[in-house]
């Protein structure tokens, strides 16, 4: 039996900043044009490296003082949340702010600010009297979501969802659940990342042998390619306004798509190594919740980060669920922007949504020598692919400690 409109959750506004675009239009154009956003990058203590860096206009929605007091994750979140609300054409002035919830996925938070303060006290012979009084409000785990509420005068609930690199999907899922529980009328949700500003994330991936390097930064991120050599760290944000279909219809909102299924589960095996078996179960969980079968899905937005184990395990999970059906398109957005951590799942989904209209799956770039251990015939390599239909997009997002998330979005037909 179909769900009533009050339980159907739709995407009505999108705000994003990615290393290759500060709006959905610009981002989509660059994904279709094969344009990377990965650039040379220098960070404290580390040799020169590469990263996905955003150049959105911080002061478009934030005073300079507000930006200075807060965090980079807060800047990203405030920009994306405001852009999403503007895009939604909600009558924001007359929206009940106590019925708006903010749910933002994060991979980590506080490392950037803590490293900065430690660096600062080293300049003063470790005198803790120069440790900033801003440190605690900057590093509390709800910081990016809280900054959005202060900036936009939202008095409903806010929280961040700590879900490693599954966080983008997890933010959307939290929004869907809160709308269905009637806790809020508008959910501002998705994921954000400031991770390029902590040297620790680069250093840790380097020590793990999982930090990408390439003479040409735009070729550094190579998911599914035999010459991949690790992760490109990126910053960014992807935030949507979600509403119940009944509310969206009542105000004549533009609807980007309907979130019809989701799944989250845990590997329960290892701190870093993924489990293809659990990932496949998570895919089935999402398909089941959406009352779909694998044959219904048109585009799979893969999570692959360009690490050998991660790529191979995800490919196994996808092959288990989808087999060799060639009408399916599997792409990978990290190849363009790197791994945007807490924002990754959100940005990777949002970059695919315009396919509901143009029926084009953007490519996985830098896939010149496919790994022979990866038996995926459906990878969209290097050039976009036109599809006969795009009704369902499935988005994978997985993270450390074995956290898996899958989201399925359906093309909306009025």
């Amino acid at each position: 039996m179909p769900l009533p409109d009050e339980s159907r959750i739709v995407i009505t506004g999108i705000g994003l900043t990615a290393p290759n675009g500060n709006s959905l239009t610009e981002y989509r154009e660059n994904l279709l044009a094969g344009k990377s956003g990965v650039v040379p990058f220098e960070t404290r203590y580390m040799p020169p490296t590469v990263a996905g860096v955003c150049d959105f206009e911080v002061t478009r929605h934030q005073k300079r003082k507000e930006a200075r007091r807060g965090t980079r994750a807060g800047q990203v979140a405030v920009y994306c949340a405001n852009e999403a609300v503007v895009d939604s054409q909600l009558d924001w002035e007359n929206t009940a702010k106590n019925r708006v919830g903010v749910y933002l996925g994060i991979t980590e938070h506080g490392n950037v600010e803590t490293e900065n303060e430690i660096y600062e006290i080293t300049q003063f012979d470790y005198d803790t009297k120069v440790w900033s009084h801003h440190h605690n409000p900057r590093t509390v785990a709800n910081n990016p979501a809280g900054e959005v509420t202060i900036n936009m005068k939202i008095t409903g609930p806010h929280l961040t969802v700590g879900a490693a690199c599954a966080a983008g999907n997890a933010g959307f899922i939290q929004g869907v659940q809160m709308l269905r529980l009637n806790e809020v009328d508008v959910a501002i949700c998705g994921g954000v990342s400031e991770s390029i500003h902590t040297f620790g994330i680069f250093a840790s991936f380097q020590s793990q042998g999982a930090l990408a390097k390439h003479d040409d930064p735009t070729q550094a991120c190579r998911p599914f390619d035999v010459n991949r050599n690790g992760i490109v760290v990126a910053e960014g944000g992807g935030i949507c306004t979600l509403e119940r279909l009944s509310d969206a219809k009542a105000r004549g909102a533009r609807i980007y798509g309907e979130i019809v299924g989701y799944g989250m589960n845990s590997d329960a095996t290892d701190f870093v190594l993924p489990s293809a078996e659990r990932q496949a179960e998570c895919l089935e969980l999402a398909l089941g919740r959406a009352n779909l079968t694998a044959s219904d899905i048109d585009i799979v937005s893969s999570h692959a980060t360009a690490t050998e184990m991660g790529d191979i395990q995800e490919a196994k999970a996808l092959h288990t669920v989808f087999g060799d059906r060639e009408s399916l398109a599997i792409n990978n957005t990290k190849s363009f922007i790197g791994h945007a951590m807490g924002a990754a799942g959100a940005l990777e989904l949002l970059g695919n949504l315009p396919a509901f209209e143009d029926r084009v799956a953007h490519a996985t770039i830098n896939l010149t020598d496919p790994d022979p251990n990866i038996a995926l015939k459906q990878l969209v390599a290097n050039e976009p692919r036109e599809l006969p239909k795009v009704d369902y997009i499935l988005n994978n997002s997985f993270g450390m400690l074995g956290i898996n998330s899958v989201l399925i979005v359906k093309r909306y037909e009025a």
């Binding site: 005073k63 300079r64 003082k65 003063f124 120069v130 900033s132 009084h133 801003h134």
Partner: protein
């Protein structure tokens, strides 16, 4: 530093912690807080900047001296008289 040099240092700090404010018409005899958006965290930023730049430790009981530009300069003058002006 002399009084005018200390005043310029304070203006520089205010400009850093309140970058959206226009400080050109600041009245030195009136409280900062009556003329600009300045909350307790911003006020602590003034104290922190003085600590970082000149190693000046201002005890909490002396914060009342940092209400106006005039009172701030008067308070800081003996503490900074042997410090070279940054300008």
């Amino acid at each position: 530093m002399n009084e005018e040099q200390i005043r310029l240092v304070i203006l520089d700090i205010l400009d850093k912690i309140a970058p959206d404010e226009d400080l050109t018409d600041l009245d030195d005899s009136q409280p900062f807080r009556d003329q600009m958006e300045l909350d307790s965290m911003d006020f602590l930023d003034i104290v922190m900047e003085l600590r970082k730049r000149y190693r000046v430790q201002i005890p909490e009981e002396d914060y009342q001296n940092l209400v106006t530009m005039d009172s701030t300069v008067t308070y800081l003058l003996p503490l900074l008289k042997d410090v070279e002006s940054p300008a």
